[in-house]
């Protein structure tokens, strides 16, 4: 299983697309956080460390989510299309071991992509003379990696059965719904009857990326940490990974 994970990780991080998107993300991040981008929100110029932290995390969250979807999208379909599945399965590897390893490899590659983006956050932190915040930054990275792993695992799971383009669209829908979880929650509160039940069910399934990101932001600006959204996300990750044990294609 480790060999499969490592192979998946290596293949993903050697992708040219990953580097292009990653570099673009880092440049945008550096431009905004160093002040060269003159960031304005609602007509007000945003500058200084505290107001910029949630902005920086949102950028990292967006770019790393995009990368997580891209990294995880094709790994499993590629295995089936290239029929590398044959040479793996005949060696006594069980389908669940195979799918779990590929998903785990995708998750690791996605987190690696995310880490590369955090380099610019560390530069931003250092630029503001907040060297003491390096340690909380690592905690912040650990928290944000929950979102990345969750999205990567969800996309990997969907890609076992669905065509690549549908998986890609669904991956982005999950991300957008996850980021707008709070807004959707408020909207769901305005509905009644069966619609309410449906909306609640959808919101229960969709990960609350915004709440996790909020906690990561709180760590950096010394605000209290609420463990509930983190535990819920970890539980969702556990459920998704468990599903990789039972979902497989009929024909390999």
């Amino acid at each position: 299983m480790l060999a499969l994970m490592r192979n998946t990780f290596n293949e993903r991080i050697r992708s040219r697309t990953f580097y292009v998107v990653g570099i673009i993300g880092m440049v945008i991040m550096l431009l905004i956080t160093t002040g060269n981008g003159n960031l304005t929100i609602n007509g007000k110029k945003v500058s200084g460390f505290e107001p910029m932290v949630p902005v920086a995390l949102s950028i990292i969250g967006f770019v790393s989510s995009l990368l997580a979807v891209m990294v995880s999208l094709q790994t499993i379909p590629n295995e089936f299309e290239r029929k590398t599945t044959h040479l793996v399965l005949i060696r006594g590897i069980k389908p669940w071991q195979y799918m779990f390893s590929l998903t785990a490899g995708n998750m690791l590659a996605s987190v690696f992509c995310m880490l590369s983006l955090y380099v610019s956050l560390l530069i931003f932190t250092a630029a503001h003379g907040k060297i003491g915040l390096f340690l909380p930054t690592f905690l912040c990275i650990a928290i944000m990696s929950i979102n990345t792993m969750l999205l990567s695992a969800a996309v990997s799971l969907l890609s076992i059965k669905l065509p690549v383009y549908i998986t890609g669209i669904l991956g982005l829908v999950i991300y957008v719904m996850g980021v707008l979880h709070g807004v959707l929650d408020t909207l769901a509160g305005t509905t009644q009857g069966f619609g309410r039940v449906l909306a609640d069910a959808a919101l229960f399934i969709v990960p609350d990326f915004s709440a996790v990101q909020q906690q990561a932001s709180n760590v950096l600006i010394w605000m209290p940490l609420d463990p509930k959204p983190l535990l819920v996300s970890l539980l969702q990750l556990y459920v998704i990974l468990s599903l990789t044990f039972v979902v497989f294609r009929r024909e390999v």
Partner: protein, 238 residues
């Protein structure tokens, strides 16, 4: 002693019957040739033997201890790996001891003539090189039963001769081999016994000793042309 037995194998894809009640067995140390026209069900049969697809009916019996090596018709590897890394990767999946695997990998690269290209990425390999690498990975772990699906396709004349020599060497070492090829002369050279498959059924079989002068091609044409003709042939066992 039988190393593999297929009994009444059936595989249906929707309403199509790819394999329809196929039965045959392979003796230890035997080289069995699989012949049949395109769409006869040969590859589906191989996939069922390998456990890659579940039979709709019938069963495949292989001794639990039997180690199987498989060389696919269209070799498919991770393009970012080098030839050497491919063998290393599959040796790890097979849980081969690292210290024993490395010399074996070197030997297989040499055997397949890929030593000079071992650090070249797979995406830069020619079809012939991929075919030889597929053959090499099939030999990892010294398998008891080797299933070769079109091992000479994509090879030039020299490559084909070399490949057939390699298979002959393995045969002389007592390996059991299932040799699926559409090149009749290759099967004729290698196989101890050949089975003909048409429409997912066993249309007939012939052993090397039973050929006595008749070419495999003649028998194949008779079989593919109509089972009635084949039945009337004295050397042909239905």
């Amino acid at each position: 002693m039988k190393i593999l037995e297929c009994r009444e194998l059936v595989k249906k894809y929707g309403g199509t019957e790819a394999v329809a009640g196929l039965s045959f067995s392979v003796e230890k140390g035997e080289v069995l040739g699989l012949l049949g026209p395109n769409g006869a069900g040969k590859t589906t049969t191989i996939k069922m033997i390998l456990g890659l697809t579940r039979p709709t009916g019938g069963d495949v019996t292989i001794d639990r201890e039997t180690r199987i090596g498989y060389s696919p018709e269209t070799p498919y590897f991770h393009p970012f790996l080098t030839g050497c890394e491919v063998l290393r990767f599959y040796s790890r999946l097979q849980r081969l001891d690292k210290e024993k695997a490395e010399p074996q990998i070197r030997r297989l690269l040499e055997l397949t003539g890929l030593s000079d290209a071992e650090d070249k990425r797979i995406k830069n390999y020619s079809k012939g090189m991929l075919q030889r690498l597929a053959f090499g990975q099939a030999l990892l772990g010294d398998p008891d039963l080797l299933i070769l699906d079109e091992p000479t396709s994509g090879l030039d004349a020299v490559g084909r001769i070399e490949m057939l020599q390699l298979v002959s060497e393995l045969k002389s070492k007592g390996k059991t081999i299932i040799f699926n090829s559409h090149i009749l002369s290759d099967v004729e050279k290698i196989a101890d016994r050949t089975i003909f498959i048409t429409n997912g059924r066993l249309a007939g079989q012939v052993s090397r000793s039973e050929l006595c002068g008749t070419s495999l091609e003649e028998l194949f044409v008779k079989t593919v042309g109509g089972a009635g003709h084949a039945c009337s042939d004295a050397q042909y066992i239905q």
